[in-house]
Symmetry: C2
């Protein structure tokens, strides 16, 4: 979809949902009025942008505003989580237009699971009524570690049987769509920038709390991936924050009965919900488990936020959705009191607005990001 300057213009329009005039576009991008005029003409001709109204500037003639045509292109996202598989279809602004989810089959039948995913993708696209040509591609969010260049998942701890599995290639073959693979946490931070709580921030971290935990990182407007695509791993902190650890701790302390013992990742969510209910009803031991979790998370995000000098921290994932207000009550003041935050700049602490779909929306956003964002390397085809 065009060259670097075009991507820069598209990015600017996309990030201003209220619309932007050509004069504002020139100012925001540093491009000349003539270049902006040529590119916006081309985008309108292609059906990617449209004129959306007039802006009264006080003096002079009113300026025409431009906006993205969200229905001109779509992307599909698949999130493979150890407990749930979620598929979404989103428009060019990352808005969900279709959604399916099902429990992840246990037993490690990889090819069978891929066939199921492909069937979900097919029906999502078919039910949307969208012309298949408008679907740019398929993004996949998977638990780490991954091998990003090969497109493999590499022995994710909670997905036995998925060792070094070529998920990107298999799902691309089964759906006929070009596919991208990234870690679930990285996809989630991309979702927050496209369609979530942090579309304005150029420096943010996303803390994903679920079956496993980890961070998605954006610094200086760049999504960090690292040597092997595994940036965002939090080592022992991830294990200490997993749903399984929480529920196991509650069972060990007698706060939850033995019937909540975690055998399968999907069990853990049931135990977690019970634990949250007990805490809300005033059970001090249950609340203590959650408070200790909050402190661990707070220390982790303060350290990472300081290391990376971010101004925004967003939380999400299945565990977060159950415990959000209780965790925020502890974490928000920890961040505000952090010496570095106090010395330099305030840091916003937010909950995802994308709910349980965040990683699947993120997977789809990977496709949008690649197709539409300003990618310097695309310049090299001289």
């Amino acid at each position: 979809m065009g060259d670097f300057n075009e991507s820069v213009i598209l990015d600017a329009i996309r990030r201003h949902p209220a619309g932007l005039s050509r004069v504002e576009l020139a100012k925001a991008t540093g491009l000349s009025a003539q270049t902006v005029s040529n590119i916006t003409r081309r985008l309108i001709d292609q059906g990617v942008a449209r004129e959306s109204g007039k802006q009264n500037t006080g003096s002079g003639k009113p300026r025409t505003l431009l906006e993205i045509v969200p229905t001109c292109r779509y992307a599909v996202g698949v999130h493979l989580d150890p407990a749930v598989i979620t598929c979404v279809m989103v428009d060019l602004l990352g808005t969900v237009v279709g959604h399916r989810s099902r429990r992840t089959p246990s037993g490690g039948d990889t090819d069978g699971t891929v066939a199921d995913m492909a069937a979900s993708v097919h029906s999502l696209v078919a039910e949307s009524g969208v012309d298949a040509e408008r679907v740019l591609g398929l993004g996949i969010a998977a638990p780490g570690p991954i091998d990003a260049s090969a497109g493999w998942v590499v022995d994710p701890p909670e997905l036995p049987g998925w060792g070094r599995y070529p998920l990107r290639e298999r799902l691309s073959e089964a759906t006929g769509l070009p596919a991208l693979l990234d870690k679930d946490v990285t996809a989630s931070v991309v979702a927050e920038r496209w369609a979530g709580a942090a579309t304005e921030s150029r420096n943010l971290l996303f803390f994903y709390l679920g079956t496993g935990s980890g961070m998605g990182l954006v610094v200086d407007d760049t999504v960090l991936r690292g040597v092997s695509g595994n940036a965002g791993e939090v080592g022992g902190l991830g294990a200490a924050c997993s749903t399984r650890t929480l529920v196991d701790e509650a069972v060990a302390l007698g706060v939850l009965g033995g019937e909540y013992t975690v055998l399968d990742p999907a069990d853990a969510q049931r135990g977690l919900e019970r634990l949250a209910l007990l805490a809300a009803e005033g059970d001090a031991q249950a609340d203590g488990i959650i408070e200790r979790l909050a402190i661990r998370i707070g220390r982790g995000v303060c350290a990472a936020g300081t290391l990376l000098d971010v101004d925004t921290i967003v939380f999400g994932g299945p565990t977060w959705l159950v415990l959000a207000p209780r965790l925020l009550a502890t974490i928000e003041p920890m961040v505000a009191r952090s010496p570095f935050v106090r010395a330099t700049h305030p840091t916003a602490v937010l909950s995802t607005t994308l709910g349980e779909n965040v990683a699947a929306v993120g997977a789809a956003s990977l496709v949008l990001d690649q197709a539409l964002s300003a990618q310097p390397r695309s310049l090299l085809l001289g």
Copy 2:
């Protein structure tokens, strides 16, 4: 110095000191043979690159190799450290051609110190015999926190009197050179990429151990700076690893006498050298202090290396230079045993090859990096 494609070509030539043929350049950059040919002609005409010999390819005619002309441009770097001020002049490959250092005046006479720095810069340039037109500019490395956009140092803990001081502007005025300001740790990681131990790595962290400690970060070939230019702060770990903390601990344990009590940052280095000597002579308590430091550092770099998925960790700074072999003996196996490193890819653990000049060379490299590296934002002047 030209456009994006030109920068990409320069980058590729610079990173292959043995020389690169036009065919190899086209392969390495993805640019067409015609584009490579046009750009290399221009670079040769400008005196920035030159033909350096022939490469025998076995079949066909030998290929002409290209290399940078290191003496075509220079940059100056100033490192303001609480103990020492170091000024260097480097050529286009980052090689030091002149060097001065002096003890940092205590008492917070900022304007007087800047006048001293400017005098050092003037004599360095004059003594080098280099035409002033060939000096691209001046880079400054300062302890954090900084305000990168304003060009200020902001109350660095060990530099009383330097609160919110417009160092970039003042030193630019005093020298007549365009100036850039960055944190010492960020400058150091830039030095390692230009002229140091890690010119090949696209994902590395530099751990600076000195009066203060912190990290310089490069992920996906991008130097991370964050919202305010303060990426790389390590919070409590930095304080726990400072020279002052080490010497204070040694005095408190009776390993060093009270005469080593740290009053001024320059004292700390003297105490540290004594501590290193005692440990080398077999003093178990002295060695214990250094071992505990190594473990703190090892944990910190394992966590950060895992979070950022780097393949290279470089150490430097005045404390490192005194203790390097002893610290490496503990840290290297910690990194190798780190679960994430074992699961994904090996990580090299290195000592800087730039010695005590690393941050000053880094400061100069900031100028080279801005003038010569592929900077996508430069494309926006359409």
